[in-house]
Point group: C3
Chain length 422, copies 3
């Protein structure tokens, strides 16, 4: 790459200043400068494990889908029953994209430009008319790191030290297994492309301070005590709110345990790889809600995973600030945000149900998606209006409320990632 | 902001070279380089008083409209009968836009993101769940300087020394009052977004050398001697043209004075705040035109301000190179240009009539707007074609004609503003 | 221009590295960095003779067309029967575009802004109200270098040493004359705007390695031995392929010579101005094809130039990597690529037929354009997918096949041009 034009010293100064104000949002440059986009890509998105999709979208040998981030396109393809591979979608000959459709099925990966042909294992199988001395074995597709986690596909774009996946996420396995993610199937997918820096998208998802003014439907589903204490996961509200909520939580956990369900809480903290968290809590015990739907009734007749009867709980898995699963007993929602550039973020959301659930028999997709689709459309709008205001010269980061405690953690985590890079 | 990437020394060299050629337009960089856009914003648009709108659009308490310039959005809101306020449209919490619609009416200014709520005086009235020690009085909306001038609303984005509004514009008051601007109402608004640097838009409006080739309708309305002498205000034509026109002007002024009307001329000159001018002259005495309409007949039955009978005069008020009012006895036109970026300028035009004039009874809006709407569409086109050619490497600033005398003044004024900054 | 922000030393390093790998495509920066676009414009497109159009589009005095490249617009206008001129489309007064329509006819070139009026020879004929001392003779339109070559119009944007046109292209005259290009007329024009760097467009046209996978129609028309040996002109295939093809070529040349036709081959080599080549070869002698149409039958009843009976040959004239003519006995195709910016290239193609050929009588335009229109749409797609992949951080230039021999020559030629500049 052509040399970066803003000296690191300039970025360092801004990072240092940000450290001085842990209780406030970031300064404008972090949300708008191309230089921070470049730094974020290297320090965060080319280092972290990224939730790319779900195995159920590629059950058959040769099925693939593309995962796009920044300037990259990654082919995620099933080689066989036991193996899913990830490759950079860049021909080793002259660099053409090899797969052009967002998803499909192929016996071999043949580049449409000059027909270099790769196996599902990425090895170059055929290249016509190459000069003597050409070694096919040197020209396999560049592999991308990939891990499966209970059906969730994670990739990693790192070309240096690879952060240990298992160590980071092992403790989250039991809740993921109980939810039956590995055998789920996709019910619906939706994109919410957002004209805002990815950190504004991420910060929005880390606090429920905005839920009351901006998400009326969400606040019909979730009771106020939960929104205040736990609205964006453990630690997102004040200690007081958490304490006030604890009896309700305890009562529900006792009931849920009686049904045989696991409800432990994981919070790996600010020094962990991705601030990962896992937790279960009741959706709305006051109203006896069984699912995260507008009236609390299940959206799918077949419950997921180990659930035989609904306990009305929600499983929340946060792998990092841009990879989440939120799940009721009967359906799960996968969320991912990926930066396009400093001012644009792809928001991609996938709803999962039990593999045997039949559309329009066991579930109406409109019920499954309703609450989060509504909420995500609202989030897109408020996040874009946030970006617009942040670009004003008059913008100054204001103080966080007590209900934005998780944002304080994120800010420290994010600055730590940047400093590791510099 | 991230450090500017072109050293000031480079800009200074270009400014110095421009000084050497007072009789020619500016070099390409002034019209196309991002660095000059940044410099213009700081030296001109964040320093000058900007014509933002008219009070008649917000007669009721809580009515507001947004004024956009560059990356800024300003809320202009009526607090009460006596007071109109201007605030940066940026929440003091996390920076969201507070008002999202271009205009509306609100009892309180509540941010849609987290519901921080401000009074119409900008003071923070409510913010839920803030930590102890939080002082609401420190988090009012950032105020923007505002002045009313006979119903015209001016704002100023300066965060340093504020140029004295009254001193600059006091002498223009009598003509503005005679025109009755304070009590006028809006008949029509139109935007002409122009793909050109704001200086090309401004320069176009400062000379009538282009009127004959480019504005046939305008040249039906205005006689050639006036176009030559005065087409873009006093001093826009040659001394010869001015001398040739003087008898016609004198004759008309005598008649107008008999009717009791004021016709003094103000020309504050190149060293003034905004090159402000105020003047009256006849629209077309040869043809007996009473208004700036295609056939000279009034477009509105109710005359404005002090006018009881039409004297066929035009009042021209130039507050600075991007804020103007041009008025016949029966209607007035407000013009403002605001830069979007180095290659895009918003051209916003508002037509005013007497407050009691009734649409389709006293005036047909199509007649009111016809001449200037036609002329502004032509200006948009020629200015965009000018920008296109200026971006050629072969572009060299040519010499001004004698009918572009006002452009010479503008060039000096503009370079002076830039140098004050450096 | 504002000082370039990447030091030349950085570009030099990349050029030097590229030299070390003659058998591979260029690194990413050459295809994506703004700095290389700037360098390419100066070292290649402002130095080379550019195929701009054909005289038959402007047969009458005063007829003109515009040729756009990068930020430039060039007026190509017929002054009289013997003379076609080229001027920068930039008024010498304030820089407006003078001609606004893509083509037209004018007695004089009058700027629409202030009516400065130029003759068809570019001399300023009229400028109203200019100050004393103004010398019209100093303000003619800036001329652009122009040369006619058998009806083809070439222009040159150089403002320094002008490369000798005649010396470079003299040897290509006989084949161009035999083809009758000078008296041809335009049958059809089409644009294929391509989101890719111009070098990816050029490289695509220099190899037929992609023809088999990407151009099924083209490979119906042209036999495999020719595609392999000669698919993108002499020297584009391996020596083996050329040797294998030679007997077929010799046999056809003998037949063609019997008919009295010229078939010499020119290949000026890597050190020439534009790697110019001229050659004739049979389209498909195995199938007896007479023209480059889908079934080999002529698309136009009237043959071009000296051809009295079809010899089934194709004349290929390569003036430089962005200016070509490919011609059957009955029609010719002019190709030009011009950069818009580092990621966008205009691909403009014109089909020519005999001047007396009558549309829908002698030729059906759909037959004339079919093969190349199909092929160019495919090229647009594969080139854009190539650009997309080249922008990945994982992109590494792979080795050329033996059928991409011409790309090796281009790479050396291109790097030579860049180094001449630095």
């Amino acid at each position: 790459m052509i040399t970066n034009q803003v000296p690191n010293s300039e970025l360092e100064k801004l990072i240092e200043a940000a450290r001085q104000e842990p209780g406030r949002a970031l300064e404008q440059e972090f949300y708008s400068a191309r230089e921070f986009h470049t730094a974020d890509m290297r320090s965060v998105f080319r280092k972290q494990w990224l939730l790319a999709g779900h195995v159920s979208s590629i059950p058959e040998r040769g099925q693939y889908f593309l995962f796009d981030i920044d300037k990259e396109s990654i082919i995620i393809v099933r080689e066989n029953e036991d193996c899913v591979n990830a490759f950079y979608n860049v021909c080793r000959h002259r660099g053409s994209r090899v797969c052009l459709e967002k998803e499909g099925r192929r016996k071999l990966l043949t580049c449409p430009y000059h027909a270099w042909t790769y196996g599902l294992d990425g090895m170059l199988k055929a290249a016509r008319l190459m000069p003597e001395g050409f070694k096919k074995e040197e020209y396999g597709l560049h592999a991308c790191h990939i891990r499966l986690f209970e059906g969730l596909i994670f990739i990693n774009l790192s070309n240096g030290t690879l952060p240990d996946f298992d160590e980071a996420y092992r403790s989250m396995l039991p809740l993921a297994r109980q939810q039956g993610l590995a055998t789920a199937k996709i019910a619906f997918k939706q994109s919410y492309p957002t004209k805002a820096n990815w950190k504004l998208v991420a910060e929005n998802f880390m606090e429920c301070y905005h839920c009351q003014p901006a998400h009326p439907e969400y606040c019909v589903v979730h009771p106020q005590d939960q929104v205040l204490a736990f609205g964006a996961g453990p630690g997102s509200g004040s200690d007081e709110a958490a304490a006030a909520y604890q009896p309700t939580l305890d009562l529900w956990e006792a009931e849920s345990s009686t049904m045989g369900y696991l409800n432990d809480t994981i919070d790996a903290g600010v020094f962990s790889l991705g601030m990962q968290q896992a937790v279960r809590y009741p959706i709305n015990p006051q109203k006896g809600f069984l699912s995260e739907t507008i009236d609390g009734s299940p959206a799918c007749k077949k419950l997921m995973g180990d659930f035989r009867q609904a306990d009305g709980g929600e499983t929340a898995l946060a792998f990092n600030p841009f990879s989440y699963v939120l799940a009721s007993n009967d359906f799960a929602v996968m969320f991912r945000w990926t930066p396009r550039d400093e001012m644009n973020t792809d928001v991609e959301v996938t709803w999962l149900v039990h593999e045997d659930a039949e559309e329009n028999v066991d579930y109406d997709p409109r019920n499954v998606v309703h609450v989060w689709d509504t909420t995500l459309k609202q989030d897109k709008k408020i996040t874009e209006d946030n970006q617009s205001g942040v670009c004003s010269e008059s913008y100054q980061p204001g103080p966080y409320s007590t209900q934005e405690a998780r944002n304080v953690v994120f800010k420290q985590w994010y600055l730590d990632q940047l400093e590791l890079l510099l």
